[in-house]
Symmetry: C2
Subunit: 451 residues, 2 copies
Amino acid sequence: MDLQVRKLYEALFALEELRELYRQALPTGFDDTEEQQRSTTLARLETLLRELQTGSGNPIQQVCAGIELRTREEEFININPIQAGGRLTLDARKALITYGDGYSVCDRCLEGRLDKIKKPPIEAFHADLAAFVGMDEVRLVPGARRGFQAVTSSLIERGDVVLVSDLAHYTEFLAVEIAGGVIKEVPTGTNHLVTGEAVAETIERTKEETGRLPKLIMIELVDYSYGNVHDVEGVGKVAKAYGIPFLCNGAYAVGMMPVNGKEIGADFLVGSGHKGMAAVAPSGIIATTADWAPIVFRSSRVMGDLTSRCFETKEPELMGCTLMGGTVVCLMASFPAVKERVQHWSDEVAKSNHFVREFMRIAGNLVLSEYPRKHTLTRVDTRASFDRIAKTDKRKGYFLTDELKERKIIGTFEGSTRVWKLNTYGLSWKRVKYLSEAFAEIATKYELPIR
Amino acid sequence: MDLQVRKLYEALFALEELRELYRQALPTGFDDTEEQQRSTTLARLETLLRELQTGSGNPIQQVCAGIELRTREEEFININPIQAGGRLTLDARKALITYGDGYSVCDRCLEGRLDKIKKPPIEAFHADLAAFVGMDEVRLVPGARRGFQAVTSSLIERGDVVLVSDLAHYTEFLAVEIAGGVIKEVPTGTNHLVTGEAVAETIERTKEETGRLPKLIMIELVDYSYGNVHDVEGVGKVAKAYGIPFLCNGAYAVGMMPVNGKEIGADFLVGSGHKGMAAVAPSGIIATTADWAPIVFRSSRVMGDLTSRCFETKEPELMGCTLMGGTVVCLMASFPAVKERVQHWSDEVAKSNHFVREFMRIAGNLVLSEYPRKHTLTRVDTRASFDRIAKTDKRKGYFLTDELKERKIIGTFEGSTRVWKLNTYGLSWKRVKYLSEAFAEIATKYELPIR
């Protein structure tokens, strides 16, 4: 398979070389030299196709000088915890090939606004996206983090308190910091679950300690440490009761599982393109309600003192246009598949539980995430199993990495045999079963009992 | 040519379909159904190659449902003013195919820092990039605008004055607005050129009007309206004399022409990936000196009150990691070509002047940019030539768009025959001559005298 995959890349690259000829030639046609180069490349493509067919020839190693080929998704089963939802769909890859050039979607920009472009249908995509996440308005941002920043920058003054959970992602911390805010953490307790009750208690504690209510509540639907699904509806109710705006961090959720911002009771819903919507990084979305849109998506008002120039069509919290090329086009091309896949979330959860159940049959293996699993990102503890082997193996924890790699499984933190994470999202049943069996095989090989 | 280009895309897409098979299959090999699909796709590729060879078959129109094919760079000469420097290089396109998936460069992230990743060599790239722009430290950002924002957010308090030119890009305005700053504009006068002298006068005016010095000077090396090359070295000297930090906006310059931040006397140099460094949007760089790096690239200090979590390795002005996939990999893959191409800037300017000279031979045509040209982005005035035709032609200004498109030239603002912009950057001499002749041909056809 490896050789085939590398030949496949080589053929893609040869086609790009052919494409480059068209980009350099006169649009009226090739001259003799170009015609010659075209013939040579076409002949090479024929050879490559044959090699691809028969599995012969030498495998390439690099994309270009200094950049090695990446074949993790083609040659391996990749269980990396953060990469699963950002894997490009087939249509996204096609769109990226087509729209890779810098400002590629701006060919027919008439209003100087990314979200008003009609060809490609970016304007319509914004409307569809808002409906998809159950909110009134949506904008694209270079990563979920820039969505958090837009909200904190709009709402938080120096010294204001923002509530986050004790499982909050670092980007939530930075978004508070950049706005001059202060963090109060909502404890999730021993089961690592955010509840509306704990949020209410932290609001009360904040009131006692500072004499004021928090200015913003920022809670993740799914956290990055345990992949637990938190009671954001409960948080939404508490937020509403106290009249505090609520930003729901939907990374690891939007684009993977059904998420409806208004049903959650969120004032802001943020999603990540490269974490959950099968798009190129950095990409993401911020969605909000008709009430908050005029605040976070307000128009620019600053004015030049000499020219009186004022860019009223631009939205300062977004810094104007955001994803003007391959990033937006991937979000759009993946969107039909994304809409479809969230409908099959229960199957993803079933596969996650199948894996975890099998994994826990290996004596000593523990799952630190909530169980039964409600998500595909899982934190496991193998200190009483694989780490015991690592203690005496000369490769230390790398024995597990090696054994997995030998079985074409990749994406664990290399060398780690203590507490680590994996993600089964998007793997077929066939692959999930293979994955489960691979761990059992390794356990057997190292004489770990299987229950 | 058109059919060939579309067949080329179709072949690329078919290879992606084949690639998808490997992504779904077990890593141990294909089953019968998959093997069958593989054969079918390979057979289709053979047909496509034949069609590509002979120029037969039906041309495809779409990438996928709703997204049309983009063939502007292959079927046309594209003179769009903002797209020229962001066109991907061949190596960038190969790298993008390989590294399109979301978090693709994070496979071997050990420190949780994009700029410390060694494979692919992102850390080394940062060092090379800093040397390339003549500064001490550099970080990647999702567009030049996010570089401006990092600086204003670090330096500007509410009510502080920031100097920009009366040609400043809107993103400079937004960066000031978001930090709560006030804009004072430096007049560029009738020749649309920023001088150190005008900056000094505006500083004095600010001092008189507000009693304080500006907190930041933000001036573009090349402006987006005229493509004029401004005296940023002169600005650097004035900035230094007054002790005011100077951000040089290097969009349309970094990656296209030689730019050295320290020689300019800039404290911050910002560049755009999709405008000047042949990369996917949104991408860009912010470079600074050893003096300013600890301020703008300072570590996070905000802390969780319950967990005492503090993400000290993260840089809040960047919101942590920035370009974690296809964006950074394009910057890297294009970098050798970018380093090379800035060495040939004088040739780019020569081609620009050749075009402009020929263009001005058409009676009535004017160039509003400085002349002789020092850049490839040019603002022209055709009110006394093409616009006269437009007044009586039933297609109005679209007659020019049509005539150009017929000659396979694209990228002007459609329907515009008054004041408009174009960019010859990256076009070969052959293409530049063809372009010049095309305009002359159109003039002749419509009986506009040629001098």
